[in-house]
Symmetry: D2
Subunit: 341 residues, 4 copies
Amino acid sequence: MKIPVGILGATGSVGQQFIHLLRDHPFFEITALAASERSAGKSYREAVTWFLSTPMPDFVETMTVQTCEPNLPCRIVFSGLDASVAGPIETAFAREGYTVISNARNHRFDEDVPLVIPEVNSNHLALIKHQPYGKGCIITNPNCSTIGLTLAIKPLLDTFGVEALHVVTFQALSGAGYPGVSSLDILDNVIPFISGEEDKMRREPLKILGTLNENRIIPADIKISAQCNRVPVIDGHLECVSVKLKKSTSEDEIIRVWESFRSEAQEKDLPMAPLQPIHYFHESAYPQPKLHRHLDKGMAVSIGRLQTCPVLDYSFTLLSHNTIRGAAGTAILIGEMMVEE
Amino acid sequence: MKIPVGILGATGSVGQQFIHLLRDHPFFEITALAASERSAGKSYREAVTWFLSTPMPDFVETMTVQTCEPNLPCRIVFSGLDASVAGPIETAFAREGYTVISNARNHRFDEDVPLVIPEVNSNHLALIKHQPYGKGCIITNPNCSTIGLTLAIKPLLDTFGVEALHVVTFQALSGAGYPGVSSLDILDNVIPFISGEEDKMRREPLKILGTLNENRIIPADIKISAQCNRVPVIDGHLECVSVKLKKSTSEDEIIRVWESFRSEAQEKDLPMAPLQPIHYFHESAYPQPKLHRHLDKGMAVSIGRLQTCPVLDYSFTLLSHNTIRGAAGTAILIGEMMVEE
Amino acid sequence: MKIPVGILGATGSVGQQFIHLLRDHPFFEITALAASERSAGKSYREAVTWFLSTPMPDFVETMTVQTCEPNLPCRIVFSGLDASVAGPIETAFAREGYTVISNARNHRFDEDVPLVIPEVNSNHLALIKHQPYGKGCIITNPNCSTIGLTLAIKPLLDTFGVEALHVVTFQALSGAGYPGVSSLDILDNVIPFISGEEDKMRREPLKILGTLNENRIIPADIKISAQCNRVPVIDGHLECVSVKLKKSTSEDEIIRVWESFRSEAQEKDLPMAPLQPIHYFHESAYPQPKLHRHLDKGMAVSIGRLQTCPVLDYSFTLLSHNTIRGAAGTAILIGEMMVEE
Amino acid sequence: MKIPVGILGATGSVGQQFIHLLRDHPFFEITALAASERSAGKSYREAVTWFLSTPMPDFVETMTVQTCEPNLPCRIVFSGLDASVAGPIETAFAREGYTVISNARNHRFDEDVPLVIPEVNSNHLALIKHQPYGKGCIITNPNCSTIGLTLAIKPLLDTFGVEALHVVTFQALSGAGYPGVSSLDILDNVIPFISGEEDKMRREPLKILGTLNENRIIPADIKISAQCNRVPVIDGHLECVSVKLKKSTSEDEIIRVWESFRSEAQEKDLPMAPLQPIHYFHESAYPQPKLHRHLDKGMAVSIGRLQTCPVLDYSFTLLSHNTIRGAAGTAILIGEMMVEE
């Protein structure tokens, strides 16, 4: 018997990815699709502008889209809602006893809401017992550009300590949702700004990498500089990172630490968990969005170009799939981890 | 009477830009086009795959391409030769009394060869009197990604002092020459590596910003970290820069210093000189390659997004046209400056 | 003394092109910019998302955008309004005595409204004396994809007669306005459909190429098949055309007829008129949007690849700039022709 | 026991696709990779610039690339060789007893060589008994742009008769091989010419759709016009087709004929055969390369936009994956069909 799940914001960019990733899931079965008033009442096929390059699964085509009210026939809802509406809707679902796993930013910094990457801080899930929702609860996953970065930093923090991070991003178009970025703005161009993104990258890793102390998180103490840019790539955020460590080490040691990094999600062999969370490429021009975004079901972080940095200690380049690893896939992995427990 | 000039590597990417920029030049007249054996003897029209988006000037269509031997009917040669052949050819021209102004990297670090950005270090041109070529000489312009960066740093160095620079580039396709980057490698992709580029960005600014001491340059003392990336943009290198200054200052003061920066090239109103070398944009998503690469004849550096950097002191984003400001335009401006003196 | 003109829909894609093309016009001076309620009252700089790759002219930056009511300080209005609102607004301006030259489709098939390409059917302008607006009038220019095609066909029709046309288009993104096509829909893709476009291409040439008979146009008798597609190109519509002629001829003769085609607009040397309306390229891979869209101020039609067609008589490929030749430039040329008379 | 197969031209664009499609094949096992002298002796990983967006299969990474001499340890060779060298190499393999299934054009019009699309003319395979190679033989698959077109036409020919075809193509970059088209030539552009392509599209369908008469093929009698264009799309050729039929019919009937089209390849359920060779889409803007190229393992032809054509009878738009359906996939399906018999 699979667990019935609903998708809030089912017609959007992250919503489509939820549907794609859950189409044959061993734990979950999609029993409800919900979206805005404009879509409600239509078949999913009519309501959506499907733009993934894999076809829409047959079973959702004829499902009727519902409004985002907390009377959906399911126990867990995955939320891909836009931040302009997500906050109160997610609260309403939690109050009615639903487990809400959200990709929206609205509740990420609520004191009692965990901000989780399963391989990094699944222990933060304990926060939910301090939420005021009874059986219901809200868990959030981080911003798409934060997840890849934080996964790459976690083993460095544990092994060497991290004082400072400097990151410059090359972010894909699907991160802006649909219709998102106009083609006239981005073809033959780079846009050196994404609203709110740099702030998220400076704050979110500190909560995720922070320490759970009773009913609150004590944030990690790392200086983070972030410059965020949009590039004409469909999927896959690439990030140029420089890092200042607390202990001295070597490139070989860093690579070893990345490649051997595993977590409970891997040990339990959860369906959405990558076999190996971090892959290091020795080829000089890797990783690349087009070549590596789908690695390990789109859930791996690909790293390459590790070198000493004359200003901080080391520089490297990382890549992760922004709507799988960076959104829907991580949310589903959170769901899997909660089911296992 | 205009000064007759020749172009070495006339069919290449930088060669085409030389032709485009010199088509109605008040000082110079193109009297010779030279390229490889394969092109020699053909009309320019036959020999070239023209790919600038402005049409080929009429007067070059029927000019016969010559080999790169030092018997061309001109006094100055602008070299857009590939580094695989440029070294000895340029030396041969200098020996025969030609003034060689080169965009190739081969002679950039010769002790007696100035590496010049006219607005930054035209005083380094004095080095040529130590060259062994009699009437002839070699002057080089820096790498495309170095020029924009060094122009932006020069006024900061003069006013505040600079301890460290951290730069991540988003480089355009025309920087790789023609045919250069395969469309299969770059459409829907970013390539996080450009051979030799990071090394150039770490070394060249130190020579350019160095001090002329008799017959040699004492390099500047700045730590530079560079990560270079290719993006699907036709023209215009964008760079995310962070900088550590020696004196504390404010964003307003930095902007004021940039906007008021002028040099002899501006005072003499040289034809290729931008009216204002550095433009600061207050719009949150500027500068952008598509919108600003042609600013001030393609010779301006556009800057935006200045903000405090939690790791160094300040971050900003700059843009410059890689084949105009970053190559042919700067070489021509060097020529103009030498003619004026 | 220049003639004061206003621009309706000044913030849109065609509106921006009007501003760009009129910035130093010898006949006209922009004295009014009008747009939707949302923009009215703001400075143009605040109201617009400028996306042309040439910078916004200084003089419009601080002009205040007005609403589209017929009390603007000018005599002629160029309309780049969206078809959803253009109809009644344009009528209101004509009623108040303005000369309205419109790029919108709304009035194109009104019996008393001329649909004009100046080089093809400027005699149709005589229709306006049958309009009920007193001093005011409405003239329309055709759809962007129609203009290039009809210009290429006009000399063939006059010389050989034309029975049938078959056209397949490769249309640029700027034709869809701003924000227009989502980058997620078109990067690495072709969209084989543009709403309403095929119908326009089948009908409009018949009116333009028709015969003025007193107060009406008798449409030309040509069978037209059109398939319209969107491609990831910023500017410049390319069209693959096959044509069935009434008289037999040769490729050389067709090229001669195209290259020698001139009209009153050329004879009067109007500012916006191309020197030569049709250019034929003998190179095997020409014309191309990136290389030829700006030919002759963006007002020329570039043709190449003429060959016999085993199904109809001849095939060829044409290119024209969709927002200059195909919209604002043709509208301005209509204005110039009216001023001359 | 699987049949050992080799791949000629293993490092090229079609060679990579052969490797990808054969990685877990139920009939075939790759036992030899051969390429040019330049690659021979290297491991496949060293020799290749892998550019498919799916990772290189592990088992080929360490295989040693061999030269293209007929002493490979296999019985069947799939050839993705470049036409500049394919002819004599393929003949040499056939002489030594290998079954050669080639994607190269060299032998396609040899009188005794079948040009095969398994769903269309598998009966032509009988020609090989007239070849002079003893146990060896050569079979060819058609050009990438021909295969989709001919599959779409076959059921129309059988049911209604076809007098004339008019096709305009939008061809993907992978069709040009690697490095193929320079990014500077195609970003923000369309190239209205592909060398030799139009001739192939006019001739190949006539042989494929022709009648086997003893030891030769009598070509079909259909007039074909073709205009071939390169667009900035990675994979998937889109074609706008108009057709003149011999019998009158209706759009519904045509769609019915397409959707019900099946062949022996489907009946035998061959591994590479699409379940349904032709899919018709009723959505107004379908098919699209990005959305439909992978349909049915990349082996389906997607069609949409069927409408009456005012010049011929009907127009429609088709799409097929150029390196799967249009090359390697069809070659493998030929191999499967031969194994079954």
